[in-house]
């Protein structure tokens, strides 16, 4: 099974990298860009017997390592 995990900064947490990206896009003429946030995507290949089981595992992985919940939020999709 495949898990696709997205980790992003919580709303309200200053993201200097996102701000630099937004500013650079503005300089290129994309003035419609008001803000940018840079997160990360983690792909996992998991041995699990059901989607439910994979979900429980991935949730635990996010809480224990993949995201720092002081500053980040996460969500994920599981596919066969």
């Amino acid at each position: 099974m495949k898990a696709l995990i997205h980790v992003n900064l919580k709303p309200g947490v200053l993201d200097p990298q996102g701000r630099a990206i937004a500013r650079s896009l503005n300089h290129l003429g994309f003035e419609t860009v008001k803000d940018a946030k840079q997160g990360k995507t983690i792909e996992l290949e998991i041995d699990a017997t059901s989607i439910e089981e994979a979900k429980t595992q991935v949730e635990a992985m996010c809480e224990q390592l993949l995201a720092n919940t002081v500053i980040e939020t996460y969500n994920f999709e599981i596919s066969e």
Partner: protein
């Protein structure tokens, strides 16, 4: 020195988690080292009062493993900050700062990319009220909330700071302002 795969600390009076970009700062600075085997025993013994200090990457590891609150994020200037840095000693009444009797400010090196301390507002206020803010930057180099350079836990036996006091302990190498941290601990554990 204790290997990261060890599960028990030898009998020691003081633990230092040094800097050094463990695991190439992959995932988040300090995140992977904070899950290494030896950390469990450090967390357990810190809970019973063992003095623990983390400098630079060591501070990041201490927040990642939950011994200290908050998180260290990318410097707001997006630049690696590497220079002597003036700090004010906010709390001289800790086991890490008692030796700085007549000094209010010290200069020690900083060398980091992710030193921008973040914690939710109520946590910051709590840290301030309880005297857990130990060092502040004089001239904020990285965007840290409340100019925070170093904090301790509520019990006062765990210190984390981004600057490097261990790199300022010899007049031949950039001054001796960092010595007080180690002298303080020595006096406390004697």
């Amino acid at each position: 020195m204790v290997w990261h795969e060890e599960t028990t600390l030898p009998p020691v009076d003081f633990v230092v988690i040094p800097g050094g970009f463990s695991y190439g700062d992959y995932l988040r600075s300090g995140a992977i080292a904070a899950r290494s085997a030896i950390i469990k025993d450090i967390v357990r013994k810190a809970g019973t009062g063992l003095p623990v200090a983390g400098f630079c990457n060591g501070f990041q590891i201490l927040t990642e493993c939950g011994l200290l609150p908050g998180a260290l994020m990318r410097n707001t200037g997006l630049k690696f900050a590497c220079r002597p840095q003036k700090l004010s000693i906010v709390n001289k009444n800790t086991m890490f700062t008692k030796a700085y009797k007549n000094q209010c400010e010290i200069t020690v090196p900083i060398a980091h990319f992710d030193g921008n301390y973040y914690a939710p507002k109520d946590e910051l206020n709590r840290l301030k009220k309880s005297g857990q803010i130990v060092f502040k930057y004089v001239g904020n180099p990285n965007g840290s909330a409340m100019d925070i350079a170093g904090i301790c836990n509520e019990a006062g036996n765990v210190l984390g700071m981004m600057p490097h006091p261990e790199r300022a302990v010899d007049p031949m190498c950039g001054g001796t302002d960092g010595k007080g941290v180690f002298q303080s601990v020595l006096e406390a554990i004697r």
